[in-house]
């Protein structure tokens, strides 16, 4: 209890310092959001196991640390950044180091005219009207203490805007690098992606670290897909095994928009992803895929909500987990079909493989349907590696290790297949291979 109070008070106290260091980012609109969020943060309490939405995720290990923010920017070697590029090839990428945009480390090839891909701090300073229109409009604060914390300390993050009708063929790769030199730091990337009418873009949020050890990433991403926009979103969470990662993603889908997302996570000490999409008009389509690989004492929690508020939309969700050792997984996927949302199609599935007797998953796919003319299905499985398949492989001379690796790859492949970019798929495959070839998994 004491620790939790300290954790909270530290941020409240620190706000004045933070405020003083704001320069052009202190525009009246955004600063009002910060201050409101700070009051909200003071008022809310951190969730405990008594909260329905946090029933299986005890965050007290996070709250016992004192995290400090990093105030100044940093530059790292381009060699380091290269490690996180797909196929080691250069493409469009923007780099944030400890939450701050690094112009020197970023590289933007020719983008179509009018496209913005850069720092939200710049967009705020420049008083881009899109900030006032969209920022903080989707990630509401009610009952969301981590979002309140993020909003109160809004400083930097990625801002991407694709104007009407523009198509970006190459993905925009955003690298969030934590380079903490073993200091327990907090970074709070605050992202806003806007895809205009009839536009098309692929955005990759990639969370990586230079060091092992404890740190805290608290990130909020708001995504707007305007009419008939196509947005591919990939999130790769490759953080330190001891890191805390709390993420909130809110997607607003307008008429006939198409949003596809793949979340890949290597876990952390505790990772929590709240991923919510809202159909704000008819004809939208949304696909949420996820894959998490956990071992040791890791805890991963995915909470998703697909809000079918309007008719004629379809959603497809598929999360898969592989857990070893004492790892724990939580999948809570809610599909809400509101009374108006006739002709909804919703499919949801969560499958898990437990590689040890001590690993566990709490899975809760939920359908809440208030319309009558809909097609919805959901399901969940928790199982072990398929013994018949393993024997079949053994009987062909394939040893246990290799057989296990093959079968886990196969299990993961359903999700990996949904990544349409070859180089990114290969990158994920490589992470898998490395991980499965370790003796302990």
């Amino acid at each position: 209890m004491e620790k939790i109070r300290e954790f909270k008070e530290w941020f409240v106290k620190h706000f004045d310092d933070f405020e003083k260091n704001l320069n052009g980012e202190k525009t009246p609109e955004v600063h009002k959001l910060r201050k409101d969020a700070l009051s909200k943060f003071k008022e809310l309490s951190f969730p405990s196991l008594k909260d329905e939405e946090w029933k299986y995720t005890n965050i007290s290990p996070l709250l016992k640390y004192n995290f400090s923010p990093v105030s100044s920017g940093k530059k790292v070697s381009s060699e380091l950044i290269k490690k996180f590029l797909f196929d080691k090839m250069e493409h469009n990428f923007i780099v944030f180091i400890n939450g701050r945009f690094s112009q020197e480390n970023s590289k933007l090839l020719a983008l179509p005219k009018g496209v913005i891909a850069g720092s939200i701090s710049d967009a705020i300073k420049e008083k881009n009207p899109l900030i006032e229109k969209h920022f903080g409009k989707y990630a509401n604060l009610s009952d969301q203490i981590f979002t309140a914390l993020s909003t109160a300390f809004t400083k930097d993050g990625a801002f991407i805007y694709v104007p009407e009708g523009k198509v970006i063929e190459e993905p925009v790769h955003i690298i969030f690098l934590t380079s903490n030199g073993n200091k327990k730091i907090i970074t709070q990337p605050r992202n806003l992606f806007i895809a205009g009418k009839n536009s098309r873009v692929t955005i990759i949020e990639h969370y990586v670290t230079e060091n092992k050890g404890v740190y805290f990433t608290n990130t909020v991403t708001e995504i707007v897909a305007e009419e008939n926009a196509v947005v591919n979103h990939i999130k790769l969470q490759e953080e330190s095994i001891e890191a805390f990662h709390i993420a909130r993603m809110e997607v607003d889908q307008e008429r006939d928009s198409n949003f596809t997302s793949v979340l890949f996570s290597n876990g952390g000490n505790i990772s929590r992803n709240d991923f919510n999409t809202h159909f704000n008009d008819e004809g939208g389509e949304c696909k949420l895929n996820g894959l998490f690989l956990l071992d040791d004492n890791q805890l991963f929690d995915a909470h998703t909500l697909i809000d079918h508020a309007k008719p004629n939309c379809s959603s497809h969700e598929h999360y898969r987990g592989i857990l070893d050792d004492n790892a724990r997984g939580v999948f809570n996927g809610k599909v809400l079909v509101r009374p108006d949302a006739q002709k909804t199609n919703a499919f949801q599935q969560n499958n898990n493989i437990l590689l040890s007797n001590n690993a566990s998953v709490d899975t809760k796919p939920q359908l809440e349907i208030f319309a009558d003319d809909v097609k919805c299905s959901h399901g969940a499985t928790i199982g072990q590696l398929d013994n018949d398949a393993k024997f079949y492989l053994n009987s062909r001379g394939i040893g246990d290790e290799a057989a296990k690796a093959i079968l886990l790859h196969a299990f993961a492949s359903d999700v990996i297949k949904s990544v349409k970019i070859n180089s990114v798929r290969n990158y994920i495959e490589e992470i898998l291979s490395k991980r499965f070839n370790q003796d302990d998994l």
Binding site: N387, S395, I406
Partner: protein
């Protein structure tokens, strides 16, 4: 002698399935094992291949002079035992080519040999595909997933051709095949026969034995081999069924 099975007893979940099997197989021989449903044919085949769900409660199996029962399934395969499954397992997400490449290289590793490079490997498998008349597009497909019955069986023989076993055990590889597929499968098996290897064919039907001529035919009934003979025994079984064996006194048959 390649394989000697002595008084093999196995049980699963407390039920005794094999109740004292004796069998000797020399290199160069083809043995057929026939018998009614549930008599224990597949159990016998799987125990030889190293399935661990079955408990061997008595008896021994000597293969190439070694105690086979001490080896893990993968080591038995590396030592040259191959089981063509009665019901080949579907493995979504694993391609045929990936399975074979891993298998070939795991076996090479066992013998301290270098892995095959992509070109050597492809030329090996393309060669072997011809034996069972499989199309190349088939390599990329997931193992047995969505295969017709005939394709599954041909795939088993294809894998056998690539792995080139010393002792092949074919568990009802003929069941459910039309006559063309049967000929392809039988032809494949015959091409792979040599004086150095042996084949055990489990089947219900004499028909296959028209194409693959066995040296010995054994009848497995209720967990025991109750009668052995030459290829004419298969004709007799086809004509008379198994009832004459069931009704006869087990002692008289065994003698």
């Amino acid at each position: 002698m390649l394989l000697e099975v002595k008084n093999l007893h196995t049980s699963i979940e407390g039920n005794e399935i094999l109740k004292g099997i004796n069998l000797k197989v020399n290199a160069g021989e083809v043995h057929a094992i026939m018998g009614p449903n549930g008599s224990g044919k597949s159990t016998f085949a799987q125990v030889l291949a190293g399935r661990e769900d079955y408990n061997v409660t008595a008896g021994e199996v000597i293969y190439k002079g070694k105690n086979l029962l001490e080896l893990k399934a993968e080591d038995r395969a590396r030592e040259g035992i191959f089981l063509a499954f009665q019901y080949p397992v579907e493995i979504p997400g694993v391609s045929n080519v990936n399975l074979l490449k891993t298998a070939v290289n795991e076996i090479r590793k066992y013998y301290g040999e270098e892995e095959l490079d992509a070109i050597e490997f492809l030329s090996l498998i393309k060669d072997k595909m011809k034996i069972v008349e499989l199309d190349e597009s088939f390599l990329k497909r997931s193992v047995n997933e969505g295969f017709s019955g005939g394709e599954k069986k041909r795939n088993e023989i294809f894998q056998m051709a690539v792995l080139n076993p010393k002792l092949a055990i074919l568990d009802e590889t003929d069941s459910g095949l039309d006559i063309d597929a049967l000929k392809i499968v039988a032809n494949g098996v015959n091409k792979l026969r040599s004086k150095d290897n042996a084949t055990i064919i489990v089947t219900h039907y004499q028909r296959l034995l028209d194409y693959i001529i066995p040296d010995f035919v054994h009848v497995l009934y209720n967990g025991k081999i109750v009668k052995s003979g030459g290829k004419e025994l298969a004709f007799e079984l086809e004509k008379k069924g198994y009832d004459w064996l069931k009704n006869g006194s087990p002692k008289a048959i065994a003698g």
